[in-house]
Amino acid sequence: MDWGSILSNTASWLISPETIAYALAALGLAVHFGYGGLLNFGMAAFMALGAYGYAISILTFGLPWWAGIIVGCLASVVFALILGIPTLRLRADYLAITTIAAAEIVRLLFTTQVFDSVTNSADGLGNYHAGFRAANPFPEGTYGFGPWTYNENGWWVRIFGICLLAVAALLVWLLMRSPWGRVLKGIREDEDAVRALGKNVFAYKMQALMVGGVFGALGGVVFALPSAVVPSVYVTSLTFFIWTILLLGGAATVFGPLLGAVIFWVIMGFLSNVLPALASSGFLPFMSTTQAATLRYILVGLALMLIVIFRPQGILGNKKELTFVK
């Protein structure tokens, strides 16, 4: 086994676009669930809308890359409105059910042949990179050291993603230390009590759904920036990876989602390297290398269960809160 390459491959996940994208989406989910108590099980749809909004704006409408990002965000705001108007007045569990269903509808709309000319159905979209790469301030060449050596495009995507993530984290921090955040946390605890104090609960929940949704869409954009937009990515299991990250890091924290995303992808990266290597050197009998690679998804599921059972407040969560978890 080549431990050097395993560790180097693993380390590269630290700042991969996937890690940044998942962290952004998990931050959005923190606004929804961690602070607002909104059970959104449709994060994949918000990400899909961001990614498709970006790609379609460029490919079909010829918009510049930054306008594509704005379109992606607007699409997720509209989606939040459509989702929220009928469900936010109902109990929290209705939102959960509706978001799962709505996310599947969104994915199927992008997969279906009907809109093939725009979405390219199941094959997805690609080759929208020119505009973004033209805006690259980094000169051509390969930079970095060790496992973090990328060409100018690789760096541009990563730096841009990290900047987006930093702005998003700052926004969440500013929001949650303010009276607005106080109302939102109050709604999480008991919305009737907050209503009785004269706060428009519906409006706050809608605003939270939109803010978190926009972060989800930005996650989708960052995910799409270096590669392609393929509908089969935005399945329900993507939503649950985001949930795993959120619960791992700590739901009602600003840095929990970031830490969670890093840990999640580093472990996933490590397992995807180490498991096939173990299988091929005979340490995992009864298993082919491909089977060994899928084993990691089983381990992720197991990890999610263990977190929820043994550390429901997450790594960065407040230990004191745990005493009062209902």
Binding site: P179, D192, A196, K199
Partner: protein, 332 residues
């Protein structure tokens, strides 16, 4: 009582609140709420059926009635937490039916809940600050810029600490509300409602589960509200307290207002005694059921006969075996 010097131990009763005879639906000199024909049906059960009701301004009104009389349901309707089948009502000159709960609260009609709603994972102080109205920092864009709301936040905090001190919760200000005891949560909920500087405070059983010493200070808080110019409508089962602080009593039974009037008069009203206090209010029910050993007085015999007549069961009166009084099952 620390800072409020206004609350006298002997409450000053407001009198002359009504016009004409004190009968259900009597007009008030200065009503803050006027409700007409308010009904709410749950399946076959008419939980609230109020033809006409006026709540006096700047007075303490008690709403009493047996369990299931529709008191909480009426609260829910008046505050917009539930929709009536029929009816209209006016609060402080404004038509309120159909107005959502949060707008009702903004107009100055604030309520507490029978089942206390403390916001568990917010601190006591945060709970209090949440009660304050018209906060600039509660708008999503303004919230991002602290200088816009910082000064107001400091004022709110000062006011919150002041009220907390009066409710003897100031030492708990940084604790999660979830860590408070049941009675402390009742206090917090009431204190939080006061943060909104309401015109009418509606308290659903504020005294339930609060110990006698605190009850006394709670009563003083309620009296103090009147001194500060607020109106109070509260639900309470303890007749002693109702007698003590209420200026006006409204009695509900089976959804209807069956009597109203000043406390002393209402307690004498046969309809009230029948509906609520029960005609056998002096009898210890433990003795009747044989759970507690006790003297079988003529009153107990009367009651037993009445029960037998209603259930059609023969009941032999015999001296129950002497047993130690059982512990009450669960008093929490």
């Amino acid at each position: 009582m620390s800072s409020s010097n206004a609350a006298p131990l002997k409450p000053v009763k407001s009198t002359g609140l009504h016009i004409g005879d004190a009968a259900p639906g009597v007009a008030k000199v200065d009503p803050i709420i006027i409700a007409d024909n308010v009904t709410r049906q749950f399946g076959g059960l008419k939980a609230v059926d109020v033809e006409h009701l006026e709540i006096p301004r700047n007075a303490i009104t008690a709403l009493i009635g047996p369990n299931g009389a529709g008191k909480t349901t009426l609260f829910n309707l008046l505050t917009g937490f539930d929709k009536p089948d029929t009816g209209t009502w006016v609060f402080d000159g404004k038509q309120l039916n159909g107005v959502p709960a949060f707008k009702v609260a903004r107009m100055g009609q604030v309520r507490t809940f029978q089942l206390t709603k403390a916001l568990g994972l917010l601190t006591v102080l945060e709970n209090m600050k949440l009660g304050s109205q018209k906060q600039k920092g509660e708008g999503i864009f303004a919230s991002l810029i602290k200088p816009l709301w910082n000064k107001q936040e400091e004022e709110i905090e000062e006011r919150a600490l002041d009220i907390l001190a009066r409710f003897k919760l100031d030492t708990k200000k940084d604790d999660f509300a979830a860590s408070l005891s049941g009675g402390q949560r009742k206090l917090l909920e009431m204190a939080r409602a006061l943060m909104s500087q309401p015109k009418l405070v509606m308290l659903d059983e504020p005294m339930a589960g609060v110990n006698p010493a605190l009850t006394q200070s709670l009563l003083e808080h309620i009296l103090d509200l009147k001194v500060q110019g607020m109106s109070v409508l509260f639900v309470e089962h303890d007749m002693q307290m109702v007698r003590h602080i209420a200026d006006w009593v409204v009695v509900m039974a089976e959804g209807r207002v069956v009597a109203e009037g000043p406390p002393e008069d209402v307690m004498q009203n046969p309809a009230v005694i029948d509906a609520y206090l029960g005609s056998h209010q002096d009898v210890d029910l433990g003795v009747v059921t044989g759970r507690i050993a006790g003297e079988i007085t003529s009153e107990v015999e009367d009651l037993l006969e009445e029960i037998d007549a209603e259930t059609g069961v023969e009941h032999e009166i015999e001296q129950p075996p002497v047993v130690a009084p059982e512990k009450d099952e669960d008093s929490k």
